[in-house]
């Protein structure tokens, strides 16, 4: 009897402790939930904007100390899927007009503005060990060639360029976004890839080879406030800042052209 009672008491103590742990977790969760929505702006930006938007974030937060920018960087098409799937995104910055168009068609973005332009280049590892000369080398089976995947803007643009040049590329990998393609060029695992001029400028391990203007290697970047942005005023402030002289100057410093 006494043994049973002791066991019972112990059980009560344990369940009491478990209950208090659950309570603490709930309190923590509610506290976190409360502060999360305060004044944060979630910005989904194409991965080619990684460095430029990090600088823009810093400059913006200096100007608006109350607002915290959260950068969500990935391939434009993945960001689009997140937004279409209902992610609580405030601002969307896309690396090509077609991706933005799909978000607009779903009624999830209004009046996007062109805020920057970029150019594609052939990226090769430092020292160009494979001796790549131009776009013709992409048909060489013996080289390790990478492109962005067909779904991301840099992949679409690269394939358009190759098609226009009449080249059937001997691709060895289709990378999910331009940053992972750049990484594989930087470590020398790929001999050549088609990346943005801004990526080449941002990396000291990759050098760029021009693609002729005739192949139209340029693209526009669009930015828009997402239709049901949780933080509408913060989102509008951020977009205005990107389009302001200061924001445009940061983009230019990273090698983007500005409209």
């Amino acid at each position: 009897m006494s043994l049973q009672q002791a066991a019972c008491n112990r059980q009560q103590a344990v369940s009491g402790r478990a209950a208090s742990i659950v309570l603490v977790l709930l309190l923590l969760a509610s506290a976190c939930g409360g502060s999360a929505s305060a004044n944060q702006v979630l910005v989904s930006a194409a991965s080619s904007l990684t460095n430029a938007f990090a600088d823009i974030e810093q400059a913006f937060e200096e100007k608006h100390p109350g607002i915290d920018i959260l950068l969500n960087v990935a391939g434009s098409s993945l960001l689009r899927e997140q937004i279409l799937g209902g992610a609580p995104v405030d601002v969307f910055a896309s690396a090509n007009p077609a991706v933005m168009q799909m978000v607009m068609d779903a009624g999830l973005a209004d009046e996007p503005a062109i805020f920057a332009g970029n150019r594609l280049q052939i990226g090769v590892p430092h020292g160009n060990p494979a001796g790549v000369v131009g776009i013709e080398d992409f048909a060489d089976e013996t080289l390790l060639i990478g492109l962005c995947a067909e779904a991301v803007p840099c992949g679409v643009l690269a394939r358009d360029i190759l098609t226009d040049a009449g080249i059937e590329p001997a691709i060895d990998t289709s990378e999910p976004d331009v940053r992972s393609l750049l990484t594989k060029l930087e470590v020398g695992e790929l001999d050549a890839g088609i990346v943005y001029l801004t990526d080449v400028l941002a990396s000291d391990k990759v050098i760029g080879i021009e693609i002729p203007d005739a192949l139209d290697p340029v693209t526009d970047y669009l930015i828009a406030v997402v239709a049901d942005a949780p933080n509408l005023s913060g989102a509008q402030d951020f977009v205005a800042f990107v389009l302001s002289a200061e924001g445009q100057q940061i983009l230019t410093a990273h090698g983007f052209t500005t409209p």
Binding site: L78, R80, L144, G146, A149, V152, T173, S174, P176
Partner: protein, 262 residues
């Protein structure tokens, strides 16, 4: 038959919530499934290529895990050597590391410019990244720890008297291992193989980082899902269903068979 013990109500409720946590995402997937287009989607070249590659690479990775992982587990369980906990930590590291990091580490080691990869490439002309061997290596790295922990704990819990008896009866070390130890840990070995296969079959991060992504060469089912998600959601859901069906089938059928033998 022994009397069944009842669980407290609290346990039953929490278990039900736990189950819902696993079951609901599957329900979500099923509600989005393009049932009428399914046969057409699943027989596309992309899906068949990825399925073939996934099956082949995960089976090779499981075999490699068994070949190297069982000896490793035996050493960890039985041999006394300095730094054993460090060795165990190293073996279990891939369970903790983000697979993308594991893939990058592989690139630095076995890539064309890697510490080992470069001499290997110069001597033999072999390039591991962007090949099926890259896929297999990435999958083996993340899958083998599951086999090692399962087998190690089985060997530890083994009653040594049977092995001792075999030795007394004149069996050599290999014979004891082959005819006593391995059969006795059979169910755990099977469980470890199954876990390792499941992990290899679903591997994504290390593969795309180390082996890249090319249809027919390195694009496994998980990579095909990832690429399709951004292009054609119906195909992505269809491939996911194939993965769920194969994995669930293997895990349920084989698990029942092997565990009942215990």
């Amino acid at each position: 038959m022994t009397r069944r013990r009842r669980n407290p109500l609290g346990v039953v409720i929490l278990a039900a919530i736990g189950l819902a946590f696993f079951a609901l995402p599957l329900v979500g997937l099923l509600t989005r499934a393009p049932w009428t287009d399914l046969p057409h989607l699943l027989t596309s070249e992309v899906v068949l290529d990825a399925l073939r590659l996934s099956l082949i690479s995960s089976l090779i990775a499981t075999s490699l895990s068994a070949l190297l992982g069982v000896p490793l587990a035996l050493m960890l369980a039985r041999a006394e050597f300095p730094g054993r906990s460090l060795v165990r930590g190293l073996v279990l590291l891939p369970l903790v590391l983000p697979p993308v990091v594991a893939g990058t580490a592989l690139l630095f080691t076995l890539g064309r410019r890697g510490v080992i990869g470069q001499p290997l490439n110069e001597a033999t002309g072999l390039v591991l990244p962007f090949s099926i061997w890259g896929v297999v290596i990435a999958a083996t790295l993340v899958a083998m720890p599951f086999l090692v922990i399962t087998v190690e704990s089985a060997v530890r819990n083994l009653d040594p008297k049977f092995e001792r008896a075999a030795t007394t009866l004149g069996a050599g070390r290999w014979e004891v291992l082959r005819r006593v130890t391995l059969p006795m840990i059979g169910p755990s070995l099977a469980a470890g193989l199954l876990l390792a296969w499941a992990r290899a079959f679903g591997e994504f991060g290390a593969t795309i980082t180390f082996a890249g992504n090319l249809q027919g060469r390195t694009q496994t089912l998980p990579l095909a899902v990832f690429v399709a998600l951004e292009q054609d959601r119906d195909t992505a859901v269809a491939i996911s269903l194939v993965m769920v069906a194969i994995s669930l089938g293997v895990l349920v059928l084989l698990r029942d068979r092997w565990w009942r033998a215990r």
